[in-house]
């Protein structure tokens, strides 16, 4: 686990700051509450992406002398890509008259297309999300799903594994093939939808 904070190679003024675990964070991304954001390693946050790590559940009561430890607001797995102009915002709801934020979990090898708003509770691994989607609060996206561009996933919707989802509101339009995520690694076609995205991460610089 690493935090996206300290720039290890400040000297080289490149677009991306690379952390010790290989995360690439664009200098032009907007990251709030970075102590509450966990990136699993080899993940990318591109320019213009906004991560709202400051939206966390405030502890109910503070015992005397107890220091407030960092709470995870956004957890991103390995080799996941948050493309340009995405907004990642932990979901919230009003509980007992208080606004309560819930942590968000994004799995491994998840691709989030540009301009997408994400407020899901859980996005499992090997999920491909198209451009300009809206994933409303507390939606749950299971593994190996494909979300077509311009989809609006309503709040509290659960998407079962291996579904293709599209429309406004989102409906399950089909199933991914058995070979979803398979077949990458070859020359010229290093990465496929739902597959291992490490090659794509490597190519971003």
């Amino acid at each position: 686990m690493s935090r996206p904070t300290p720039a290890t190679r400040r000297s080289a003024k490149s677009e991306y700051i690379e952390t010790d675990t290989g995360n690439k964070i664009s200098r032009r991304s907007i990251i709030e509450g970075k102590q509450n954001i966990m990136l699993g390693g080899k993940s990318v946050v591109m320019a213009g992406a906004m991560l709202r790590g400051d939206l966390v559940r405030k502890p109910e009561k503070m015992a005397d002398g107890e220091k407030e430890g960092p709470v995870t607001a956004i957890h991103v797995g390995r080799a996941s890509i948050i493309s340009t102009n995405c907004t990642i915002r932990p979901p919230h709801r009003i509980s007992r008259g208080r606004m309560v934020f819930y942590p968000m979990r994004i799995g491994d090898n998840v691709f989030i297309g540009p301009g997408t708003y994400v407020s899901s509770a859980v996005i499992s691994s090997n999920v491909h999300i198209g451009t300009n989607c809206v994933l409303s609060a507390f939606s749950v996206i299971r593994d190996n799903c494909k979300i077509l561009p311009n989809t609006v996933v309503p709040s509290h919707m659960t998407i079962p594994p291996g579904s293709v989802v599209g429309g406004r509101p989102a409906r399950i339009t089909g199933e991914v093939g058995e070979g979803w995520g398979q077949g990458g690694g070859g020359e010229g076609e290093e990465y496929v939808e739902g597959g291992d995205l490490r090659a794509l991460v490597r190519s971003i610089r």
Partner: protein, 582 residues
């Protein structure tokens, strides 16, 4: 075609549109010998209206390793493994599906207006008791849609507790029906009572069945439960025949039919003018946008007769299924997911991508590898520029070998593409070999790459690929009969394409209307697609018994060695891009 170019779609040989592989030939020789022969000579036309039903992306295709055949949705059979609710992810046993229908019986409901999932929400307490909640006071809950702001308050339904929604809803519905007797006449005539009537009938007939005494089912606990089994055994051991036995037993009370309204009998009256008038009167009071659409009315049986949108009832979430797929020839499982619902893993999965050489096209002199259009990272990333007609383009066609043997590939295509816009295509090196796939470590530990690359003129290419960018990379010219690059398990060759013009050159002779009509381009006809026939041959070491018993014609056993020559042939359609207009 949904995919953005460049793409590669594969034709399953089961379709009669494409020429069949030899393996299928052998099997289907009796079925359509003449047809198959005719197909063998013709080119696959990707713009044929029927072609869409034969073209699949490689990840949707399976491969039967018993039959050595590609299997597509048309030539595998599916069977239901289990049912589950997509919303709560609970598995529903098949007995429950049979009894209660294919809908979730838990708390999962869909919005009748927009089909998105409903959530149970607590209504806020009235302000005077807000800060002083009474312990005895029951909470008030509603079903709410998170997308279109529909809530069960539209139907004036409130729940007293957030669980057991199904039971509470059923109770509410009964109450509502009792409350509005004036609606009853209308709805009965229109069959809105069908659901209730059906329930009554079910209850009645179940009772009748129980009363009539399981005469036929006396042996249900024994292995002689089926009548056929019983008859067989009775005839074997002589004595009384089954029929005689049946007669001998006391005759049960015959089942009677439903007689009353309570038992589910509904009398249909032919004279419905009064009801019709009532319906028309109600419809007059409704705006057009307040009448439900067909989709909304067919969302559930309770909504079939709704006249206004506010009569729509929440829809129990329909169940989904998980399917296993079997080869329709040899009945073996091609794909079988694990029974655990929340994640998708496979016990058996025979993917075509692990058996079929994969084709990949990209422009030769592009500065970088063309990005997969699904992975657009920036909104302003340039789309592929359209192809200019009549200007020769060179493409790199990479064939990747997924199997562990060296494969000899022969490519064939017609010199001009089929369809309205005919482009000229030349494969500079139609016949070549592709090295075996294997562990990356194999390559690193043994210097197998050089031995593979010693074939026709591949050494230089191999050296170039090993040393990275060679010095003469820039001014290298494509040559006929030479492969371009070669790596461990893939070989790249050059493809020359001259896109055809969308419009024919202007002619002096005026055209008839029919000709004009024929020239009009329909959707997707401006996409340049190249059908390529791929034939892969390799020597496989195979169990001799198995191959002998299988008796496949295309396998010639080479001498006494256990090497068997195998062959796979299929059409592959490669989408290059859109042709520019003008």
């Amino acid at each position: 075609m949904a995919a953005a170019p460049p793409y590669a779609l594969y034709v399953c040989p089961c379709s009669s549109l494409s020429s069949t592989t030899l393996a299928v030939h052998a099997k289907r020789a009796s079925a359509a010998p003449a047809d198959a022969q005719a197909d063998e000579d013709s080119t696959f036309n990707s713009h044929d209206p029927r072609a869409n039903y034969a073209l699949y992306p490689l990840d949707h295709l399976l491969f039967c390793n018993e039959c050595d055949c590609i299997r597509c949705p048309r030539c595998y059979t599916e069977e239901i493994l289990n049912w589950y609710c997509p919303s709560c992810m609970f598995e529903v046993p098949s007995s429950q599906v049979k009894n209660d229908g294919n809908r979730c019986a838990r708390n999962c409901y869909d919005c009748p207006i927009c089909t998105s999932a409903l959530t149970v929400a607590a209504l806020p307490r009235p302000s005077e008791t807000h800060l002083n909640p009474n312990e005895t006071e029951q909470g008030r809950y509603i079903l709410q849609c998170g997308y279109c702001e529909w809530s069960s308050l539209d139907q004036t339904i409130e729940f007293s507790k957030p669980t057991k929604i199904t039971e509470q809803l059923a109770k509410k519905r009964k109450e509502q029906r009792r409350r509005k007797p004036e609606d009853k006449a209308v709805s009965t005539a229109h069959g809105a009572d069908q659901v209730d009537g059906y329930e009554n009938l079910m209850a009645f007939y179940k009772e009748q069945l129980a009363e009539s005494g399981d005469a036929s089912n006396t042996y249900s606990s024994s292995p002689y439960s089926s009548p056929a089994n019983l008859a067989k055994i009775m005839s074997l051991y002589g004595g009384l025949s089954v029929n005689a036995l049946k007669k001998a037993r006391e005759k049960p009370q015959p089942m009677r039919e439903a007689r009353t309204d309570k038992e589910g009998l509904q009398v249909h009256s032919l004279d419905s003018s009064a009801v019709d008038e009532e319906t028309v009167r109600r419809l007059q009071a409704v705006d057009w946008q307040d009448t439900p659409t067909h989709e909304q009315r067919f969302s559930g049986p309770l909504n079939h007769q709704a006249i206004q949108t506010n009569e729509l009832w929440p829809v129990a979430t329909p169940l989904r299924i998980r399917k296993g797929k079997r080869c329709s020839v040899c009945r073996q499982f091609l794909s079988r997911p694990e029974p655990k619902i929340p994640n998708l893993r496979y016990k058996i999965r025979l993917l075509a991508s692990n058996y079929v050489p994969r084709l990949l096209l990209r422009p030769l002199n592009a500065s970088s590898t063309t990005p997969n259009p699904a992975f657009r990272l920036r909104p302003n990333e340039a789309e592929m520029s359209p192809l200019q007609p009549n200007i020769m383009q060179q493409y790199l066609l990479t064939v990747r070998n997924p199997i562990f043997e060296t494969v000899k590939i022969t490519l064939a295509t017609s010199s001009s593409t089929p369809g309205k816009v005919s482009s000229r295509v030349t494969i500079l090196c139609p016949s070549f070999t592709v090295g075996p796939a294997g562990d990356v470590w194999d390559e690193a530990l043994s210097s197998s790459t050089t031995s593979v690359a010693t074939d026709d003129g591949g050494r230089q290419a191999a050296m170039a690929s090993l040393t990275g960018k060679s010095t003469d990379e820039a001014d290298r010219q494509p040559e006929a009969g030479k492969i371009w690059t070669r790596s461990r398990n893939s070989t790249s060759i050059i493809l020359e394409v001259v896109p055809g013009a969308l419009k024919p050159p202007p002619s002096i002779v005026p055209k008839s209307d029919d000709e004009m009509l024929a020239e009009e381009l329909t959707e997707d006809k401006d996409v340049l697609e190249i059908p390529i026939f791929v034939r892969a041959q390799w020597d496989a070491v195979e169990d001799t018994d198995a191959s002998a018993s299988a008796g496949r014609k295309h396998e010639r056993r080479a001498a006494e060695g256990e090497k068997v020559r195998k062959e796979l042939a299929y059409w592959c359609v490669i989408g290059v891009g859109h042709i520019a207009d003008g």
